[in-house]
Subunit: 214 residues, 2 copies
DNA sequence: GTCTATATGCGGATAGAC
DNA sequence: GTCTATCCGCATATAGAC
């Protein structure tokens, strides 16, 4: 039953890391709850940090593949100027939240874990960044193409803001009072696209524009 | 030299909590680096968690006061419709970053600590939320007033997105390649205001609008 | 207020029997 | 592959001398 043991460890670790954080979760907590022996974590994974890495790789590869697939599709369907901002932002944000629905409660937990990892210390984030950075780079390039009048530094910053809004939502969306998760994703996409789209040098203050445009 | 001891503990704890996280920082780390005795933390503060609370209260009260003052000023200067979105967002975002400049490197560290706290586990966040929630509520009301056509749930979500972008920026802005911190704040304000301002029901996809408006 | 010494328990990791 | 038992160090917190 070795395979079951590995899977059980991964499932339980995912949930506990998500709910209580990586540092605050001990291998004893994980193995007790999974009903396996304490030593099995080091036997199967080598260390606590390697367990985290295995856990992230198990799900994250699929998410980033889907992100890139959706971006490819948007670029193929777009004209010579490339896809619109909202399409790019949606291709980036939708996959983790789609997966959350598809994978049920463990997808939910994984999402929270990923959200928390964004503000973990560098050492712990290292594994994560290796999985995330290549995908993020392609999206930054797509965003830059869609925003030819915005400088590279500014695009970089806005990408950080977008990632921050996403990470915070991943961490806490279970706690928001919301019945419709699809609507929340759509709100996030629109928020992010609108933020990205701001003209960089415009001196004019926008006064409650929602009032004028609906 | 009791007062000096307390201050030294607070200063060092602020820095270490910011850089390595609350859980990963031990009282031994703090007292060793501060050059004080291990037992002095419990003597002066009672516990590690109470130390965190004292640390947050020391700086956070001033930040929230300044936020509310700036909001008051904007409301006093505004017409009957209240201040514009960008003014509200700026009143919320500017004070922590202003303080960062005023308080030097310890302000920088404190900012990162606050950023990290946003994704800490509920237990640790409790103290922080008590300090943050009253201020946040007033801002939500101001935002709702500036966005009369957007439903309360939607305003709530957007406020979460804004907080997420802010927290992520607080945590990592030291690592961004940026010479001008004022420019970064201004970018964040514009990003947040534009995101908040999105018309909620508009079916039209925005296609690279920055290209059209500059 | 500050110190040393210590209580008490949990942490990750491993050795070696089965 | 799984188990028990254990190494060894660090954690928070406190008691009690100075």
């Amino acid at each position: 039953m070795a395979i079951d043991t590995k899977e059980r460890i991964l499932d339980v670790a995912e949930r506990l890391f998500a709910d209580f954080g990586y540092n605050a979760t001990s291998l004893r907590d994980i193995t007790r709850e999974a009903g396996v022996n304490l030593a099995s974590v080091n036997y199967h994974f080598g260390s606590k940090e390697a367990l985290l890495a295995a856990l992230l790789e198990r799900r994250f590869a699929g998410i980033n593949e889907r992100r890139l697939t959706q971006l490819d599709r948007a670029e193929a369907a777009a004209g010579p100027d490339g896809p619109g901002l909202e399409e790019i932002v949606r291709a980036f944000l939708a996959p983790p939240f789609e997966m959350r629905s598809e994978w049920g409660s463990s997808g939910q937990k994984f999402l929270r874990l990923v959200g928390r990892i964004h503000s973990e210390t560098d050492e712990i984030r290292q594994v994560f960044i290796q999985l995330f950075q290549p995908c993020l780079s392609r999206f930054k390039a797509a965003l830059q193409r869609a925003l030819p009048d915005v400088g590279p530094d500014e695009v970089e910053w806005r990408a950080h803001f977008l990632v921050g809004a996403m990470a915070h939502t991943m961490t806490w969306c279970d706690s928001f009072q919301s019945r419709d998760q699809d609507a929340m994703l759509e709100s996030l996409v629109r928020f992010g696209a609108a933020g990205m789209a701001t003209p960089s040098g415009s001196p004019v203050e926008v006064h409650a524009p929602a009032r004028l445009s609906r």
